[in-house]
Amino acid sequence: MTEAQALREAILAAPLETSNFGETPRPGTLYLPPSHLKALRLDAHVVVGSRGVGKSFWTAALQSAELRGLLGTAASELAGIEVHAGFANREAIADYPNTDVFSVFLDQGGDPYDLWRAVVLRWVAERAGQSIPSESWAATTAWLRSDPEAAARLMQHPRDWRGLILFDALDRTSNVWQRMDDIVRGLLRAVLWLKTFPGLHAKVFLREDQAERTVFNFPDASKLTATKAELTWARHDLHGLLWQRLVNAPDRHGQRLRGICRAREDSGIWLLPDDMKRETDTQRSAFGRLAGPWMGRDRRRGVPYTWSVSHLADGRGQTSPRSFLAAIHQAAEDSGERYPQHDYALHYESLKRGIQKASEIRVTEVAEDYPWVPEVLSELKGMNVPCVYEEMLARWCERFPGGPQDIHLDRLPAQHATRGWEGIREDLQRLGLIETKKDGRIDMPDLYRVGFGLGRKGGVKPRNRGS
């Protein structure tokens, strides 16, 4: 077996899957980009990030004492803290309400602020060994409202422990925009309330669109926004993550990959040296060892180190870790099938095909979060971009003659659907799915263009076709 083949096997053996559905991540997969550290700090109450940047990952990881320990000095203030989920994508009806509970509660005129405080009270009561009404969420909130003094005493009772409560997946609280915003606003007020109790901390993970809306328009909201942290992944962060996963591949595979970058061991986990976490020659050349120097025969198609990240970016220039790792895994598989004798583990043509896989995953994610998006963008199949907006509009109007209201949905509609197609267009752009050029034409980043089956305009017609 050549070295390239052995490296390819090793990449395939590494844990590159990133989606998190609430389970505790494996220790070797934990990676803290330097810029994410501030998001983990206890004074960062609001953490903003788009789909797939790690909100759910950190919600799950922070709940594990073992994983918190691995953050080491980077997060020393997390040592000895007790972490609890106050909302997450995994159902836990004893710990927090679900969509239906919110729905009934709001129908009956309840204030989400109370419901969120009830979530905190149950947590604190349980930890303090006190019994409060917990047979239903209605009962807990009723108790809070009818006996506010008891609730206040519970909160003020001296504690010998410190706690952190996490709120994630808040788009699952309601299928109605207005309501969701009310619920989030109530939560943020509850977080402000919690701030007054020493030793208790809260962290709310918000999607960008939630953070951009009016959920912060209440008195003193600036106390939360002042320390707002963002989870974004720069190119070197993504490469750091990749190598963190690679060097922790099992057995001889990990060993082989560690031959490229010096990782050190700490209680069975391999950790990257600092220069593999930043954009350094070390990091660049490490990727070169896997993928070679060029995206083709020579430099004209670019350098794999930069190419592989930038071609997975959305219209806002952001690349999600999941897209990146999936593309690399796919590239290793494809190289093994098509170019087994290639000089490098990852063939550049296979890296290009990695976009296909990343597109698949990305559109699946988008469909989960925004089911209206594939309904709308699927209609553009077969078109070429850049194109004039009217061309898109014509397709939509034909398919949905009654306007955006006709789009079939079982979850949240487009946020600005009530403003007609112009609103839809704005939503698509805000989500990075399309871009408007200076001359008004619409373009689509390759990540989505490939995923939704569009072509790209060009002056040179492919040979042996047409004519």
Binding site: R300, K438, G451, G455, R456, K457, G458, G459, V460, P462
Partner: protein, 450 residues
């Protein structure tokens, strides 16, 4: 009135009306002579075949009727040739869109051949600095690049082919180092076989670089002499004693090869004349350049010019041979509002690359894409169509500008010799860094910023 631009569309229309008969022809040439008048050249066999002959005659009559003064009368409009190649010789020749065996043969009055693309050179990399418009800091950027590469230990050969407005050499050489001769001298002496021993007199070593070498071959020598009289002769073809003809770009190529053999440079930097000019076409297309830097200002004059050129490359079917060598350089980027300026420039550059030089990527078949039929909520992308094309945002794309900032210390070429001699690396890097990095990458140098 039918004007020149109507010729090709009308020819295509007329031929379309005879598509079936035309497929019987092995080949058909649409000859546009120096005056822009059209004749048909067909295989000799047609003359002996009454059916085909009549058919071609009908085509000629229709062309005469529709093209008016841009066609020959039908009875003089058909020429017969044994084979296609000799009929095309020394002319620009490219296929007519939409037809398999029909070629346009264009007789041009100039030697400038923008569609004749020499294969890339295999030896030392040749990098051409070109701009559609003058005064964009092209020569200054070349001088800075030469300095940078020499500092990195490279042997750099610099050619000043901006013959009509020479000046590069004075920026790289102090007056006392100017060599005796220039390129114009060599080209003129070559016409009378008088270049023996001349090479040394063409070359001077710049005093700017400390580690590597910069060899400069200027447009003219220390004493320009009868420059105008020489300039009027440089693009003469040379007729050898055996009657064979060597055009001027081949002569220049010969000079370059001689220089390369003598100096063994790692890289050759060529300062080309600006604009769609004959000398420029030689630099850009005939010398086997590996990289052609297209200096650009954000403005209509730049983009209209490049659009003309790119469209011509597409029309003459050489886009694929040429496009991989091109790279936009944003020149003289202003101090204020740089981000907006550069994004505008990038968008314009992308616009003309897309419509002239990049491949069209067809959409995949509609069945290949969509939700998986198993109801698992997963999306399926079953087909990937590829081609030579780029996202606008693609940093590795030829339209994605390398950047040269405007800076007052480099505003005047005249001062460059003085500037570079004392300048610190940091200042050069801050102004030319993106260009130097780009060129460095082509030559396999480490980035200057790491």
């Amino acid at each position: 009135m039918t004007t020149f631009d109507g010729i090709l569309p009308i020819v295509a229309e007329v031929l379309d009306g005879h598509r079936e008969a035309m497929t019987e022809l092995d080949w058909l040439l649409i000859n546009r002579d120096l005056n822009g008048r059209v004749r048909l050249i067909v295989p000799e066999t047609v003359e002996a075949d009454p059916v085909m002959r009549d058919h071609v005659r009908v085509v000629a009559e229709q062309l005469a009727e529709r093209l008016g003064c841009h066609a020959y009368p039908a009875d003089r409009a058909i020429l017969y040739e044994i084979s296609r190649e000799p009929a095309c010789q020394d002319a620009t020749c490219y296929p007519l869109d939409g037809f398999d065996r029909v070629w346009i043969v264009d007789r041009l009055a100039t030697e400038g051949r923008w569609e004749r693309i020499a294969p890339e050179t295999e030896g030392a990399r040749r990098i051409v600095f070109f701009s559609i418009k003058g005064g964009v800091g092209r020569s200054t950027a070349l001088a800075a690049t030469a300095w940078h590469l020499a500092q990195a230990g490279k042997r750099v050969l610099v050619l000043d082919l901006d013959l009509e407005s020479p000046g590069l050499s004075s920026s790289l050489l102090p007056p006392e180092r100017q060599p005796k001769y220039g390129i114009t001298d060599w080209l003129v002496e070559d016409l009378v076989d008088n270049t023996d021993g001349m090479l040394d007199g063409l070359i001077a070593m710049s005093n700017l670089s400390h580690d590597g070498e910069i060899y400069v071959v200027p447009a003219h020598g220390a004493d320009p002499g009868e420059y105008i009289a020489k300039l009027g002769r440089v693009w003469m073809p040379k007729v050898k004693s055996d009657g064979s003809r060597e055009d001027w770009s081949a002569r220049l190529q010969r000079l370059l090869t001689d220089l390369e053999q003598r100096l063994q440079p790692d890289v050759v930097l060529i300062d080309s004349r600006a604009g769609i000019d004959e000398v420029a076409s030689t630099c850009v297309t005939d010398l086997g350049a590996n990289l052609v830097l297209l200096f650009a200002l954000e403005g209509d004059q730049t983009w209209n010019g490049y659009r003309l050129l790119f469209d011509y490359w597409r029309q003459t079917r050489v886009a694929e041979a040429m496009r991989e060598r091109l790279q936009i350089v944003a020149a003289l980027v202003p101090e204020l509002e740089r981000v907006a300026y550069l994004s505008g420039l990038r968008e314009h550059a992308y616009g003309i690359f897309v419509y002239s030089l990049y491949d069209e990527i067809a959409p995949p078949s509609t069945e290949a894409i969509g939700p998986t039929p198993d109801g698992s909520q997963r999306w399926r992308v079953g087909e990937l169509v590829e081609g030579w094309s780029f996202d606008e945002a693609d940093t590795g794309a030829p339209h994605h500008p390398w950047v040269v900032y405007w800076h007052r210390s480099f505003a005047g070429l005249r001062s460059l010799q003085g500037r570079l001699a004392v300048i610190d690396r940091q200042e050069v890097n801050s102004i030319f860094g993106s260009l130097l990095d780009g060129v460095g990458t082509v030559l396999g140098l480490e980035s200057i910023h790491d």
